[in-house]
């Protein structure tokens, strides 16, 4: 296959004309028109009809020149099926003339060469290799007759551009050769190109990148300065800001391997495990509630902890895969391996009255199939749930063969297997002494609470009246039920309500009570006798296709290079989830490693080598650097599928270390920076917005794992949900944990998450959007948490630089929050702001401690010279800059 991968040959107009001059006179005219026409005339050209396609060509050429691909195409002699023809056929033809037999028109398939050419005896002459004029396909595309033209007007597809048609003609004349889709072909052995890089030659990644940049004559950007670099790599690897001392040490460190040392230190940090564990949890659609309308709490945090541990231990991807998909089926499965299978119990549960449990069991199996397809294979298997996939070679039947792997677990909507897990168990630490002491105290108080509650639930005349007003009759009954339940069988909701009740009943001890929950984590468990799996007609679980009969579990056959075992390796019977998991990570499977390395790449550059990281099928975008992708995938396999090694390889490349500053020549030649002649600026995820502010303030509680926590949350979040949730604000450390530990209700997440684009985890999320909205501005400016962080950061500055000048304090604030020094302009702006606020706030009270979520009440004290308030205002302003929430 060729090296580039343009989505549409129309986009290549510049290069095509450079390469194939004067091919079509009228098209040449377009080029001249488009490039020389004054902008205001473009609108007029639109109306003239003959130039219609010229406009689209022109706009795409200017707006989205995929330069690297174009440059490559210019050197290719033959038309490439995968790069040039398949995108045209897939976009315009396959939905009616492709794999899906139910919607196939005229019994014509254009996705199979034998069929399209009639060579397999299909009697079709859509394509006559070597002779476009005899090919009915071209004739129909060129037709002016609305009854004949392809694609037909009723299909509501755009007509092919002259350039696309020309490409098809050439391809037919050259013999109409087909190729399998690139992603389904085995990994190639590629070698880093020889380019004259000087010192940049050490990392193979840079050779691949430089090779493409050379072709379009774009120079790479210089390395980012050290301060930017340490902030970038700290945020990317740990999600926390570097401390000023770390920045200074790194800036001063002149050893040649200074950066490597920094990377190694970050990779070894538990915060790396949190940061990258969180990325995986997105894909696992992990949340702390059941979803749908009732959306009660669930207790799946041991699974979250398992992920943190596995990522921290650098568990190889094959083991990571097998344990999560089929840990329960491993011989002598350990408790940890069983906890790992909670991955596929993160599916939704509908607790509404009157539901058919079988319907929602079916929904969860559908979700497991679709999630597995997207996460490991980068394939949209879900398309084949109702019919054979229209674009990719996945049949309706294959979908349900895949379904059969997941169809025989014991869980049915809200019932299923669970495992009791103590906090700390997964991460390998036990409760500290002080906590055990508090727990014992709590048990005593619980007994006292029980007496109070009984007095309310079954009142006798002499019950104290104060107790009566504390809890309603209904509340008392609910709480008694919770107390009556054994500790390990209490639901998360019961545990929360009980905690709130204890705090209410014994306010003087409120801060002593702890959330020390035992979890009943939901896990996968196989039925002794498997359920039969049928094709669901049109995806309807009530319409099993009994004519075709029950299906045996089988992985899809689209990847030609892997043998699909017929019988299980383990006991010679039907295939199991364990066989599926092993198939996914077998060294012959090219999709899993390609998808994995691409997703890691995406986190470091903001966009993958394959932009549609969730779709490696024929409708997805082709890779910008196919050889690099395969090289990375192969290297990954050859080194035992170690994730940390992959991380190190990427972040130590010069490509990663480039400056992210925009350049005019890049804007002109490669405006989307797809060939990476600079780094990209990336706004953090919701969690990291909070975590970074928290880490600068010095308030961060670095505890790992455990039950989810409840920082302050504005009132009224549940006004829009069917059921009020028990959100008992944590005292002490629980307020300052990393955001990934905040309890997550699918129907009403903490507003901070939603505002900064966290999904609601109803389904797997492989890539988060990055919006830029006024609601984000309001949250950063006014959320009590950020005001509290600003006040704490300000106190930290006064503590560390209290005797310094205002300018020095502002500099320190910059170092804490942005990891760099202010420019003279920035310094002047903030100094003036500081003095203005200080003058205004002399002698007034100012926030110095914990704030409520609205930011309107909190611990305050008198500010004698206004400096505390002024410094907090400076910090608040910096927290609200684009720079602060962006890793540059």
């Amino acid at each position: 296959m060729g090296r580039g991968g343009p989505a549409s040959s129309a986009r290549l107009i510049h290069v095509f004309f450079a390469s194939y001059p004067f091919r079509r006179l009228f098209a040449m005219h377009f080029l001249i028109t488009a490039t020389t026409m004054p902008k205001f005339l473009v609108g007029i050209a639109l109306v003239t009809g003959s130039a219609l396609s010229a406009l689209s060509t022109f706009e795409q050429a200017v707006g989205e020149v995929p330069v690297g691909q174009a440059a490559v195409a210019a050197q290719v002699d033959k038309v490439s099926f995968n790069d040039q023809i398949r995108p045209i056929l897939s976009g315009a033809c396959f939905s009616c003339h492709g794999p899906d037999e139910k919607h196939r028109e005229a019994d014509l398939r254009l996705d199979l060469r034998g069929h399209a050419t009639g060579e397999d005896g299909s009697g079709v002459t859509a394509i006559v290799p070597g002779d476009w004029q005899a090919s009915a396909m071209i004739e129909r595309i060129l037709s002016d007759d609305p009854d004949l033209v392809m694609p037909p007007p009723a299909a509501k597809k755009e007509r092919l551009t002259p350039d696309q048609i020309e490409t098809l003609r050439r391809w037919i004349d050259e013999g109409a050769e087909y190729q399998p889709h690139w992603a389904f072909m085995p990994l190639r052995t590629t070698t880093p190109p020889n380019v004259s890089l000087g010192s940049r030659a050490s990392n193979p990644i840079d050779r691949f990148i430089a090779n493409e940049l050379e072709r379009i004559d774009l120079a790479p950007s210089p390395a980012a300065d050290r301060a930017t670099l340490i902030r970038r790599v700290s945020l990317d690897l740990s999600g926390l800001l570097p401390e000023p001392e770390d920045v200074d040490a790194f800036v001063r460190d002149r050893r040649p391997d200074a950066f490597d040392r920094l990377v190694d230190r970050l990779l070894a940090s538990p915060h790396f495990a949190e940061r990258w564990g969180r990325h995986w949890l997105d894909q696992a659609r992990y949340a702390d509630s059941h979803g749908y309308s009732i959306d009660s709490q669930r207790s799946m945090w041991p699974y979250r902890d398992w992920v943190i541990r596995a990522v921290g231990d650098d568990m190889p991807l094959d083991q990571f895969t097998v344990e999560q998909l089929a840990g329960d089926l491993l011989p002598d499965a350990t408790k940890q391996q069983i906890i790992a299978t909670a991955f596929h119990r993160n599916t939704l549960i509908n607790q509404e009255g009157g539901v058919d449990p079988e319907q929602f069991r079916h929904e969860s199996v559908v979700d497991r199939v679709n999630t597995t397809g997207v996460v490991w294979l980068g394939l949209t298997l879900g398309c084949a749930q109702c019919h054979t996939h229209k674009f990719d070679p996945i049949t309706h039947r294959e979908y349900y063969e895949m379904f059969a792997f997941f169809n025989s677990t014991t869980d049915v909507n809200n019932a299923g297997a669970t495992v009791v897990v103590e906090p700390g168990e997964v991460l390998g630490f036990s409760a500290p002494q002080w906590l055990r002491h508090r727990q014992a105290e709590q048990v005593k108080r619980e007994a006292e609470l029980k007496t109070i509650l009984q007095g309310i639930a079954e009142p006798v005349d002499d019950s104290p009246s104060s107790a009566k007003s504390m809890f309603s009759h209904a509340e008392a009954k609910t709480l008694l039920k919770a107390i009556a339940a054994r500790r390990e069988t209490r639901t998360a909701d019961q545990q929360s309500r009980l905690l709130a009740a204890l705090r209410k009943a014994f306010p003087e001890q409120a801060e002593q009570f702890v959330r020390w929950e035992t979890s009943n984590v939901m896990v996968m468990q196989e039925l002794p006798d498997p359920r039969e799996t049928f094709i669901s007609v049109r995806g309807d679980f009530l319409r099993p296709d009994t004519e075709i009969g029950p299906l045996r579990p089988r992985p899809p056959r689209l990847v030609q290079s892997i043998d699909v075992p017929e019988v299980s390796q383990s006991d010679g019977d039907a295939l199991t989830r364990l066989d599926l998991a092993r198939w996914l990570v077998s060294p012959e499977n090219p999709l899993t490693p390609r998808v994995t390395v691409n997703r890691v790449w995406m986190r470091y550059f903001g966009i993958g080598l394959v932009e549609t990281e969730e779709d490696f099928g024929t409708q997805g975008t082709p890779p910008t650097h196919p050889e690099l992708l395969d090289w990375l995938a192969r290297d990954f396999i050859e080194h035992g599928m170690s994730m940390k090694r992959l991380h190190r390889l990427i972040v130590t490349s010069d490509t990663y270390r480039q400056s992210s500053v925009h350049r005019d020549d890049i804007e002109r030649i490669d405006p989307r920076n797809r060939l990476l002649s600079r780094q990209n600026r990336i706004r953090f995820e919701a969690e990291i917005v909070r975590d970074s502010a928290l880490s600068a303030s010095g308030l961060l509680d670095r505890t790992l794992g455990g039950p989810s926590v409840h920082p302050p949350q504005p009132g009224g979040v549940y006004a829009f949900t069917q059921r009020d949730k028990a959100w008992v604000e944590d005292q002490g450390g629980g307020r300052y944990r990393r955001a990934m530990y905040t309890e997550f209700f699918r129907s009403a997440p903490h507003p901070m998450f939603t505002t900064f684009d966290a999904p609601d985890f109803q389904v797997t999320c492989t890539r988060r959007p990055r919006s830029n909205t006024p609601l984000q501005a309001l949250a950063l400016a006014n959320d009590g948490a950020f005001l509290e962080f600003a006040a704490a950061t300000s106190r930290r500055i006064m503590r560390e630089r209290g005797d310094a000048t205002v300018a020095q304090r502002v500099r320190h604030a910059f170092r804490l929050l942005l990891g760099r020094s202010p420019s003279p302009g920035e310094l002047a702006t903030l100094e003036a702001y500081h003095d203005s606020v200080a003058a205004d706030r002399i002698g007034k009270t100012t926030l110095v401690g914990a704030s409520d979520a609205s930011g309107r009440s909190g611990v305050s004290s008198r500010d004698d010279d206004g400096s505390q308030a002024a410094m907090a205002a400076v910090v608040r302003a910096i927290l609200n800059t684009d720079n602060f929430i962006t890793r540059e």
Binding site: G43, Q60, E667, P774
Partner: protein
């Protein structure tokens, strides 16, 4: 999405450019201009990825496929499923056969949420009359609806696929019963942007004893960019979270704060040249304006006593009536899509859900204000291009459901909703059900058809308003939907 050769592409580009340079307030130089010219090429769908939209914001007004009849939508969502048999359609036969077993032919192959199979037919105890020129049947429970009977288009042949609340609400909103797809309001703002510079494009209001089942997933943007998700406004106090400045902050002080932030952002923009920073500068300006505009929105002091009486709203008291008034104020301010949820219409016959007391009660909460909204929009000249939709997620069964009292279960095969303004026929009845109200005999409109029609009124071909996600072009109507031309003016 649409044909790039479409003349509107050029208009779109121009309007985008105007909007951008009108509002942005800072010069970005030739690079931005070039991106702007190139980015808006591929119609609204591609424009999201385009540089122009990145700089000008996802809510920049965009032109649809054809001339829109409705420029904005107010969707009054009757959460729980109102009983069409007690409000909108008189069934004498049901009264005659009251207490008898339903015809076996009507029960075959049907699935219900709670019915056990031994329930009997339940005639409505409420009196019906025929009203207006169209002769629509309305029960005594909703007397105020008589005032708008000839302003409204009545759809009595609605059907849906799903009989549980959460999934059915998702279906009514997003055309799909599982979470993960964009809501109608998200599609509308994705396609059209918003006319409001100071308020979100898609606003959600809530009244009644609790929120609707399925919560925020009902106004989710699904796989669309999150800018298009609905923003819940609280009916009381600060309508938007984090709207109010910190304690002790003055408006002048906050202006100064915003100036400082802008100045720092501008300097960084000059330094690194990333147009995202320009977008953020705009976002902060809008946030600052929103702090006054959203508060001003909630202040109904300027509304006359007569208007408040019309709606039945009390100043400062959250209610469905108050939300209807807010909905009018929102669309007056250019908000594209306003959705009101009111609970609880789920009259199974349980202790707080019976047909004898609770149904009349919720009708009193909703009747007057619903009618008032149509009347008020009309007299202000807004009804012509505002589409008002009044609907639940499904209807209720002709059979009684036995709980503490006799109620009705969820019914998907035949229910009623109404629409007004925005290009639908006024005083028109579409659809008829059989004599017992089990199924639709003529004028059947499926939820997908309703969606196709709403999008049509907003100027879209529902088959071409698409978004590419995980390898597929998704649309609100999936692979279904037919525009109900019979109800269009």
């Amino acid at each position: 999405m649409s044909d790039p050769s479409d003349l509107r592409a050029a208009e779109l580009r121009d309007s985008t450019r105007r909007h951008f340079f009108g509002d942005c307030g800072i010069g970005l130089g030739a690079i931005a201009l070039q991106q702007l010219l190139s980015g808006a090429s591929d119609s609204a769908a591609a424009a999201d990825a385009g540089a122009a939209t990145r700089a000008a914001g996802p809510m920049t007004p965009k032109l649809p496929h054809h001339v829109a009849r409705a420029k904005r939508v107010i969707f009054l969502f009757m959460a729980g499923g109102p009983s069409q048999l007690d409000l909108f359609t008189d069934k004498p036969a049901l009264r005659e056969l009251h207490g008898q077993a339903p015809p076996a032919s009507q029960m075959e192959g049907k699935r219900f949420a709670f019915l056990k199979g031994n329930e009997t037919l339940l005639g409505s105890k409420y009196q019906f009359g025929r009203y207006g020129g169209c002769g629509m049947e309305l029960s005594e429970l909703i007397p105020e609806h008589r005032r708008i009977v000839d302003d409204v288009c009545w759809l009595r042949g609605m059907t849906t696929d799903v009989f549980n609340h959460g999934p059915a609400k998702l279906f009514m909103n997003a055309g799909f019963q599982a979470p993960g797809r964009p809501a109608l309001g998200a599609w509308a703002t994705y396609g059209l942007g918003s006319e409001s510079r100071d308020l979100p494009g898609f606003v959600v209001l809530q009244s009644g004893p609790r929120g609707p089942r399925a919560g925020a997933t009902l106004w989710s943007s699904g796989f669309l960019p999150t800018s298009y998700q609905g923003v819940p406004f609280r009916g009381q106090g600060d309508p938007i979270l984090y709207l109010r400045s910190p304690r002790g902050a003055s408006r002048d002080g906050e202006r100064q704060f915003h100036d400082v932030v802008r100045s720092l952002n501008q300097e960084r923009l000059r330094e690194v040249g990333d147009p995202e920073i320009a977008t953020r500068i705009n976002a902060y300006e809008m946030a600052f304006r929103m702090q006054t505009s959203a508060v001003e929105l909630m202040e109904t002091d300027g509304e006359s006593e007569e208007t408040l009486r019309l709606y039945g709203a009390q100043r400062g008291e959250p209610s469905f009536a108050n939300n209807c008034l807010l909905a009018r104020r929102l669309v007056e301010r250019g908000v594209r899509f306003v959705q009101l949820y009111h609970t609880n219409w789920d009259h199974h016959g349980g202790p707080t859900e019976n047909l004898d007391h609770h149904l009349p009660e919720i009708c009193r909460e909703v009747d007057r204000a619903s009618a008032a909204l149509v009347i008020d929009l009309k007299r202000r000249g807004l009804l012509d291009d505002t589409l008002v939709i009044w609907a639940g997620e499904f209807g209720r069964t002709p059979m009684g459901e036995v709980r503490e009292s006799i109620g009705r279960d969820h019914h998907v095969d035949a229910f009623t909703l109404w629409m007004a303004g925005g290009g639908v026929k006024a005083g028109h009845i579409h659809g008829q059900t059989d004599e017992l109200g089990f199924g639709v005999t003529e004028g059947k409109v499926h939820v997908h058809d309703l969606h196709a029609t709403i999008l049509h009124l907003l100027g879209f071909d529902h088959e071409r308003l698409t978004y590419r996600f995980q390898g597929r072009d998704f649309r609100l109507t999936d692979v279904h939907g037919r525009v109900v031309h019979e109800i269009l003016t």
